[in-house]
């Protein structure tokens, strides 16, 4: 077990290092004009204190652009391992500082989304499984498929149009209202909660579908198994059968699903955050990447890759924990 884990972690690290190299290569494919443009913008925003030519040279040195891709990457990697991801060009401060400022908004939003998602999709999934081939089952299936098919930007915009523009009951965008600073602590929480309703609803609708279908499939599998037949045969109440015997066993595969959610937990929801202008990691990274903010882009992509690997390892561990049969290998 430990040997397997160690091998898996080492592999994860290797993948992150290689993946970051691929990203770095793509970013290095940026024409040098692009870096020049950045230097010019940077110099322009310094009110003439910095000459763009100087800025260009220093940028090239700072990001290893004066050497070839491999050396540049090694330099970046060396800095990154020590936790130094450089200064964001767009936000004018260390990338990690920007990160720690905004990450918790994303986490908060995603935690609430997860709760909403679980509360809706698991009961619906179970319901669909219990009433297989019934009208309810079809309705849930179609609903789940519709949720999966929805473009996030579209449902977000429709929400904005209906609730903010037409009905005018929810704020259009942002995390806090104009009067935020004057509000009491409770009022502040209420204000943020009000601003989070639409983003959370959007995210929840988008993720409900797959979880619902997953729950339904697993529940069906469990309900068709021998021990459920036994439970029914010995005359157990249908409620007890479903809620106690069946549901608990459907949790096994669900655990893996949850550990797979880790990247979206910390990685932020780029599109939804952008539509609602929630200052989370997704929105900030999107803007940084649009501006060609190389340090931020490198940091964010690497961060996402680390998250993916961690979640994969976690799901392996979790699987072993909940299902002793997989523990052997």
């Amino acid at each position: 077990m430990w040997k397997f884990l160690l091998r898996r972690i080492l592999l994860g690290i290797l993948i992150v290092i290689l993946g970051a190299f691929v990203t770095y290569t793509v970013i290095r494919l940026l024409p040098t004009d692009y870096l020049k443009k950045m230097a010019r913008q940077f110099a322009a925003s310094s009110n003439g204190r910095i000459k763009w030519e100087d800025m260009y040279e220093s940028l090239k040195i700072q990001y290893g652009m004066n050497t070839n891709v491999v050396f540049g990457y090694v330099k970046w990697l060396g800095d990154a391992i020590t936790g130094n991801f450089g200064d964001s060009w767009m936000y004018m401060k260390p990338v990690t500082a920007v990160f720690s400022e905004v990450i918790w908004w994303s986490v908060l939003m995603n935690v609430i989304t997860l709760i909403v998602e679980v509360l809706i999709s698991i009961p619906l999934g179970i319901l669909a499984a219990r009433k297989q081939y019934h009208f309810t089952d079809y309705a849930v299936t179609v609903f789940a498929l519709a949720c999966i098919s929805l473009p996030s930007f579209y449902i977000g915009t429709v929400f904005k149009y209906v609730f903010a523009v037409k009905l005018n009951i929810l704020p259009l965008y942002g995390l806090t209202g104009r009067m935020y600073e004057q509000l009491s602590t409770l009022g502040k929480i209420g204000d943020i909660a009000q601003h989070l309703i639409m983003p959370v609803a959007t995210l929840a609708i988008l993720s409900i579908g797959s979880l619902m279908r997953f729950t339904r499939t697993n529940m069906l599998e469990v309900l068709n198994s021998d021990y459920i037949r036994t439970a029914r045969a010995k005359g157990l109440n249908e409620k007890v059968v479903v809620n106690k015997h069946a549901f608990r066993n459907t949790l096994i595969p669900l655990v893996t699903v949850f550990s797979g959610l880790l990247p979206s937990f910390f990685g932020g929801a780029m599109i939804t955050e952008t539509i609602f202008q929630i200052p989370g990691i997704g929105y900030k990274s999107f803007q940084a990447m649009l501006q060609g903010d190389i340090p931020f882009a490198m940091f964010y992509t690497t961060f996402l890759m680390v998250l993916t690997q961690v979640s994969l390892i976690l799901s392996d561990i979790m699987y072993g924990l909940v299902d002793p049969r997989v523990r052997v290998n």
């Binding site: 940026l30 179609v142 999966i148 098919s149 904005k160 523009v165 952008t274 992509t301 996402l304 890759m305």
Partner: protein, 745 residues
Amino acid sequence: MAKDNKAQEPKKQEVLQENEQMALDDARRVKVLSPGMLVFKRFIRNKLAVIGIIILAVMFIFSFLGPLFSPYSRAQIFFKDVEEPGDYATGKYVDGSLFYPSNNTALNSAVLKTLGATKVAGKYSLTAGEEIPFAAGTEHYTLKIINPDPQKPSCAVYGTTHIATAAKGEVTWYDESFVDDALLVAIRENAAQENPGTELAYNGMTISVEATRLEIKYYAPSSEPVAVSSYNSYSPMLGRAEALSANTEFLHNVENAIKAGETSVALDGETYTITGDVMNDYVLSASDGTPLFNVVREFQSKTLKIEEEDADGNPVTRDKDFLSTLSDPTAFIAAVRTAISEKAESVDFDDNTYSIEENDTDYLVSNVDGQIGMQVVIAFDPVETKYDSLSSDFNFINQMETAIAGGAGSFEYNGETYNLTAEDAGYTVQNQAGDNVVLASNIVYGPAKNGIELTADFANKLREAIVNKQNKFSFVDQYGDKTDAEIELKVGNYYVRTQQKTSLFDSRAPLSAKHLLGTDVNGMDVFTRLMYGGRVSLLVGFVVVIFEIVIGVIIGGISGYFGGVVDTILMRFVELFNAIPTYPMLIIIGSVMDGMRVDATTRLFMTMVILGVLGWTGIARIVRGQILSLREQDFMVATEATGIRTSRRIFRHLVPNVMPLLIVNATSALGGIILTEATLGFLGLGVKYPMASWGSIINQVNDMQVMQTNWWIWIPAGLLILLTVLGFNFVGDGLRDAFDPKMKR
């Protein structure tokens, strides 16, 4: 009861059959469907899948066939004509003297104007003929007052000749024609003074003096003016012919008169005479004999469809110019002229008969087949146009200002006498023929924008209106149309406004019969854009999926079949690609392409390639997993035992078994790809103008105004995306259930 009956019936049949002889005929054989048929049947029975198929069929027809029937093209921009009051011209009273320089002097007119005006304005009282010398830069000039009227003075500017220089008591002559003892004395006297001043009067002539520390220069005015400064603005008037050419009714009368063979036409009490004949064209003259128009018969040849035989003797239809088919076009035209003069209805030429048909004011000449070959029309060619040259001729203006100052009713210029008529706000000048040539007025006016040519009628009516303090007037514009105008006085300027047609982008127009779903921000038809957008969106989906399948099957197939080290290496490769986050990568590359200004087509291809490169890992994994399990099955052992070669084993025996799963996954992946592409479009990083995709159409919603007021721009595109993706998911689900009924739960 009914149930029981039904249950009994088959039993009866069985009994009947048992009585017959047992035979395995077609009717009794157990019907077994082929596996493909089975899948198809199961698929068709699934309502959702059928709905999905219908949705997709509609989308494909809409996107790929729709544009063929659309009256509009992909990026056709629509305009709307808006009639609104627009600035037509501005007018104002002359508040500084206007300056008319000679065309061939290199005068710095701005300097001259300012200095000259200052000199004049500085004087409290002026007398006619007074000379005021002044220097502009290194040049010396003399102003000669023409009109001393303090309200609107006018003067002529004369250049000067350097006549002499006095230095240390010595006088050097520069212009021999001025050498004169009396002048020499005057210059010596002047030079001897401690302060020689700036001018020296001599013999009725003002000599300007330029004194420096070492020498004193003397300049005499030259006899010809180089410029005239006046408080009147001079504008050309339309010639009679030009004014008449706007009168279409009159011209029509002339045409009819010519046809009827009459020699005169009357208009407004004046009789115009027509001279000439059919063979030599006509001249339309005014009653005083001034020729106004050359009236010409034009023979307009048409293009005919002529059936001929080509080199192989096959009949072909060719476009040919009618006149070019004749042996001698000039002779034919002469024949037609004669026929017209004789009022004949046909003309014989080249052994053919051509009919001549009278048609209102023109004639149509047709050939034997009845095709119209030539049209004979009457064209009016004005003999004279505007009197442009006079209104900017400073010598003419000089003469006229002198006449005005002297109160004379006429003056002579270039051997012709011009008559002056004083009007409310200026003067009209007529030439000997009685035509108005120039309008002089202390109101200046100019067109408000390019393309407007102010007519003399406009000038007259504007002056009248201003003098009579009316704020509305109507005039005949440059196209001969009667136009109503309004005048508004603002800070000393008169602004003339007319109703004008302006062409604007018909952007964000609501739904109408012309635009079923309105127009978007750029004034393009939303419905048509949706069709073309669908093409791109669907095409991206299919191209990317095929790309993913090709890579995924190759990598997954090799990995699954060979296993071992190959598998380990390839799977690490798959994990690596799987680890690279898709959206950040797409956004970075998208902004790079923005920065490099990649054109729309290249961009589309790049997007497809990137989506494929980042998306094939899922398919590779599925193929590998499937092949891993299939490899261990007996039929594969059999292929190995029979010694079939590896490539055949993979592609003939393994891959077909992977196909069902592959098809199911590809169908579902299609939906995902379309979503990703749409998201990119929405973020402004996908397909760019002039191309369209559903996502990039919704992109316009980022403009708050569009979101709030123009639902037709973004709602339909989103619905189409939703329906299409839903369709793919329905079909994907249906396929999965059909291929593997055990999975259906």
